[in-house]
Amino acid sequence: MSNVLVFFDVLGDALSPTQRELIAQAQSLGEVHVAVGAYQGDPTPALAIAGLGEVYLAETSLPAPEVAVVDLLETAVAECEAEVILGSSTADITDALARLAVRLDTGIICGVAALNGELIATKSELAGSYTTTSQLIPGPGRPLVATFKPNSLDPQRVDALLHAGDQPDGTVLPVRPSEGGVEILERTALKVSARPALAEARVVVAGGRGVEGDFTPLEDLADELGAGLGASRAATDAGWIEHAAQVGQTGVTVSPQLYISAGISGAIQQRAGMQTAGTIVAINKDEDAPVFEIADFGVVGDLHEVIPQMIEELRRRKG
C-alpha cells in the first residue's frame, strides 16, 4: 500500500468539506498522512478520522504565503516516504505543491477530478469540452504531486467513506518560518457571506449583466432556496457584487445539484465554472443566448418578472 501525504494550507477547528473530500480521495490510494501549514492552538482534534497516519507540523504555524511550507512538505515526504502528495487546486496550495515538485524533481498534475489505483489522473480540460487521462512517467524515487479540483466526489459518498477515529498526535518537524524575501504588510479578512459557500453549495443562484445593478431579487431567491449566490464577471466587474462571487474560469468553479442562471449570456469562460451542475435553469430575455444550449429548463423572459414570481410561488408552497 502506498503512502499518501495530504497538504492542508490551513486547518481550522473542523475539516472543511473540501478537506474531507481530499482525505476520502487519498484513502482510496493508501495510508494517509497529513501536513498542516497554518493553524491555531492544537490542530489535531480536527483530524480525528479513522485510519489516518502521521500529522506533520512545523515548529510554528506557517500561514501563506510563507514559503517554509515547502520545507515542511519536503521533510514530511521524506519522513513518510510518500509516493503521492495531494492538495486542493487553490492558489496557495498550488504554489506550495508546484515548488515541492521542483525540489523532488518530479511531475505535477493540476486540477485532477479523480486518481485511480494505478495513479492515472482523470481531469476535465478546455473549459470542460474534453476529459483527459494522464500519468507520471515513472522514474526512481519520483512521487506524484497532484492538485484536486474540489467537488469531484459526492458529499454523501465522502460521509460514507470517512469514519471518526482517535485524535492523532502531531509530529513536529524541524522547520521554521523563512527569513525575509516576502514580508506581509497587511492582512484583511474577506467578508464571508452568511449564505452557503459557493464552491460547496448544493444550489447556486447566479446573476449577470441582465441584473442591471440590483442583486436584491437574486438574494431573495437564494435565501428562499438556501442557495449560494454567484455572478458573472460582467456583474462583479461592474461592482454590483463582490469579486468572490464570480463563477467561471477566473472565478469559482461550482458543481451544485441546481444552478439558476439569470441575466447571464453563457460565455465559454462562465460555462467553464458551472457546466457540471446537475440541473441548469436559465432565465434570459434573449432567446439566442448561448446559455440556453446547456440549460435543462430555460425561460425566455425578463428576470425582473420571472424571479419575483418564483419567490412568491416558493413562499406560497412553503406557506
Binding site: A64, P65, T90, D92, T94, D95, A96, L97, A98, R99, A101, V102, T106, I108, I109, C110, G111, E125, L126, A127, S129, Y130, T131, T132, T133, S134, Q135, I137, V182, E183, I184, L185, R187, T188, L190, V192, R233, H243, Q249, T250, Q257, L258, I268, Q269, T279, V281, I283, F292, I294, A295, F297, G298, V299, E305, V306, P308, M310, E313, L314, R317
Partner: protein, 271 residues
C-alpha cells in the same frame, strides 16, 4: 541598491482562441495550429507598462517572452504593439509536448538568458518576472511558483495591485479567505490576475512603432539546454471530447414562467 534599473520580463503565452473550437490532436496534445495572445497575459503586460510609466526616476525596461511554436511570434508581436520594449520567442522542436515541469525548466533558462542580455545605462539591473494568473488553455497556474523555485526568486501569486518602492515591490493579493498586502524583494516572480487593471489596446501609432522593436528568436541551444533536459515528466494517455450538454425544455414567458420554473424544480425534486 536604490533606483537600480529594473528589467521586467513579462511572460506571454500563445494559446488557441477560446471563442473558436479548441481540440486535442491525435498525439494527445492541444492543437496549436492557430492562436492568440492569451487574454490573461495582457494583465501582467499592462501591469509592467504601468510600473514603467510610474517610475519617473528609474530606468525600467519591459521585455515580453513567449515560448511556443512558430506561430507564437504573433503573441510576441502583439506584446510589442501593446507596449513592450523588446521581445523574445523561445521555440524548439524539442519543446513540443512540454508539461509544467519541462516548461518551467525551459522558461527558467530563457529568463536567465534574457535578463543577462539586457544592457542598461544606469547600472546593474534587478529583474522582475510578471506572468498571467493561469494559461487560458492549461489553467494550472503552477508555472509561476515552479519558475521562482528554479530561479531562486521570491514568488507572489494572484496579484491584484502592484506598486514599486525604491527597494521592493508592494503587491496586493487575494489569498483564499483574506486580502493581503505584501512587500517582495527582487528578483521576484509575480502572477497578475484579471482583477489588476484594464489592459490597453494598441493604437495605429503603436502598431507602426512595434515594427522597429527587436524580436529575437531563441532555440534551446541558445539558452544552454539540451533536448534531454526538457523531456516531460507527465504523459497524456487519452483525450476524449465530452458530448456537449444538450438543451432541455425552453419556454417563453407568458406571464407564468415563474410558476413553471417552480413546477419544474418540484417535479425534479430539487426543492
Amino acid at each position: 541598491m536604490v533606483n537600480a534599473p529594473l528589467h521586467i520580463i513579462t511572460l506571454v503565452k500563445w494559446v488557441p482562441d477560446a471563442q473558436l473550437e479548441r481540440r486535442y490532436n491525435a498525439e494527445g496534445r492541444i492543437d496549436r495550429a492557430e492562436g492568440v495572445l492569451s487574454e490573461l497575459d495582457e494583465y501582467p503586460l499592462e501591469a509592467a507598462l504601468q510600473l514603467r510609466e510610474a517610475a519617473a526616476d528609474r530606468e525600467v525596461r519591459v521585455t515580453a517572452l513567449t515560448m511556443g511554436p512558430a506561430g507564437a511570434s504573433t503573441a510576441a508581436k502583439k506584446a510589442l504593439q501593446i507596449g513592450a520594449d523588446d521581445a523574445y520567442q523561445l521555440t524548439d522542436e524539442a519543446l513540443i509536448g512540454a508539461d509544467i515541469w519541462a516548461s518551467s525548466v525551459a522558461l527558467k533558462a530563457a529568463v536567465e538568458t534574457v535578463a543577462g542580455a539586457g544592457e542598461f545605462d544606469s547600472g546593474e539591473p534587478e529583474y522582475l518576472v510578471l506572468t498571467g494568473m493561469a494559461s487560458e488553455e492549461g489553467e494550472s497556474g503552477a508555472i509561476p511558483a515552479q519558475l521562482a523555485e528554479r530561479l531562486g526568486a521570491h514568488v507572489v501569486t494572484y496579484a491584484t495591485g502592484l506598486e514599486l518602492t525604491p527597494d521592493r515591490l508592494v503587491v496586493t493579493r487575494s489569498g483564499g479567505t483574506e486580502s493581503q498586502k505584501v512587500a517582495v524583494a527582487m528578483p521576484a516572480v509575480v502572477s497578475v490576475t484579471d482583477q489588476a487593471n484594464d489592459p490597453r489596446y494598441p493604437n495605429f501609432k503603436a502598431i507602426m512603432a512595434a515594427k522597429k522593436k527587436p524580436l529575437t528568436r531563441l532555440s534551446l541551444a541558445d539558452i544552454g539546454l539540451r533536448a534531454e533536459e526538457v523531456t516531460a515528466r507527465v504523459r497524456v494517455l487519452s483525450t476524449t471530447a465530452r458530448p456537449p450538454r444538450t438543451a432541455g425544455e425552453i419556454i417563453t414567458d407568458e406571464g407564468d414562467a415563474g410558476l413553471k420554473v417552480v413546477e419544474f424544480l418540484a417535479k425534479e425534486r430539487l426543492l
